[in-house]
Symmetry: C2
Subunit: 194 residues, 2 copies
DNA sequence: ACATTTGTATACCGTTCGGTATAATATGCA
DNA sequence: TGCATATTATACCGAACGGTATACAAATGT
């Protein structure tokens, strides 16, 4: 018997790549299985349903991402440091796991009834909460963002994602460098809403 | 007989709203017809296929959007003015036609094999060309963005869309005000890459 | 050695999908 | 009025979808 974890992992990573390119509804279970080199009963043996597979994918990838975000925000009073760390988690995660970034980013601007969005909603909200909490802490020391914590959050995530997307399209590594983070930090904390 | 344009328009606007919420692949033709109050043969009489309907929707909405963008860029040498006008087209269009914005924005970060993305690709490229052309003109007068025209384009579109999305979620009208455009302009032309 | 668990393959099911054949109905024009 | 042209409704099609019953093969624990 081949190692079961190989097949399971092949299904997960292959499916995520397909979802990120063609969307959840645009990808068939047959396609997922063919790409992973398994048959449908094998996939249903592991995940129970197409949505179960999606849930597993989201759980695994979001857990690592959100854990890293939370760890980056353990010293929220050190505002410049925390901003830097948070942005770095976004960059690192996207470079290490491009399909997951594409999948995530494609959902961020779509707040509707898309199957994949509904399943991702709770994680997107957790992500938002971590960033919002940080901006609330920051606003206690930096007056000009007070009252704008929510919009700081949305703009922060949107701008970071746009920057990563720009890197993935152009290959310009300067985009995901520390310098970029310094500039974004300057804008968000001291410039953008003054 | 009811006015045919009513039905045709009802199908178009209803379908766009469904597509923006549930995605193209996640919306069934039966759903589209039910919402528009017509039967499937009626829809197929007008549009030939589900993709034909999508193409018509894209043609109508993108034409207006791209025309406005082109008109905003008729004086590219006046860089501050053109930047302002371009951003304003994005804001105005999104406020006037929210479903189309959501649909567009949901595709921007997803460069893959999604059905809706493939059909939209040519328009997205036209949009990109208009903005890129502007930044090339601007870079002839503003040295610090030279060589970064493509990434300026992607970041500009991404940041604008993130800002609009923030407005749609928070309802904070200050986000889509002229002041926001002034700040973005300052950042993009004189601050962000210096 | 053998029962049990785990994983895989063949073949298939019911449903929903996009799409259509047919015919009835409403309108514009003669 | 009656003909021609659009437009709509009923009813249906083949294909693809998500999902499964069954049985068999490989590993594991005793």
């Amino acid at each position: 018997m081949t190692d079961s974890r190989d097949n399971k992992q092949a299904i997960i990573s292959g499916a995520l790549e397909l979802f990120s390119k063609k969307g959840f509804d645009g990808t068939s279970t047959a396609e997922i299985c063919e790409r992973a080199g398994v048959t449908k009963p094998t996939m249903y043996h592991y995940f129970g349903s197409k949505e179960g597979l999606l849930d597993d994918i989201l759980l695994i990838h979001y857990k690592s991402f959100l854990d890293n975000l939370s760890m980056a925000a353990t010293l929220p009073e050190d505002i410049p440091l925390t901003f830097f760390r948070l942005a770095k988690v976004y960059f690192d995660n996207a470079l290490r796991d491009e399909p997951f970034f594409r999948f995530r980013a494609g959902l961020t601007l779509r707040n509707g009834e898309d199957t994949a969005y509904i399943s991702s909603k709770k994680y997107i909200e957790q992500e938002g909460k971590i960033i919002t909490d940080f901006f609330y802490t920051a606003s206690q020391h930096i007056g000009n963002i007070r009252g704008k914590e929510t919009l700081c959050t949305i703009s922060f995530i949107g701008t970071i994602n746009a920057t990563i997307s720009a890197y993935l399209q152009t290959g310009d590594e300067a985009l995901v460098s520390d310098d970029t983070i310094y500039r974004l930090r300057q804008q968000f904390l001291y410039g953008i809403y003054s």
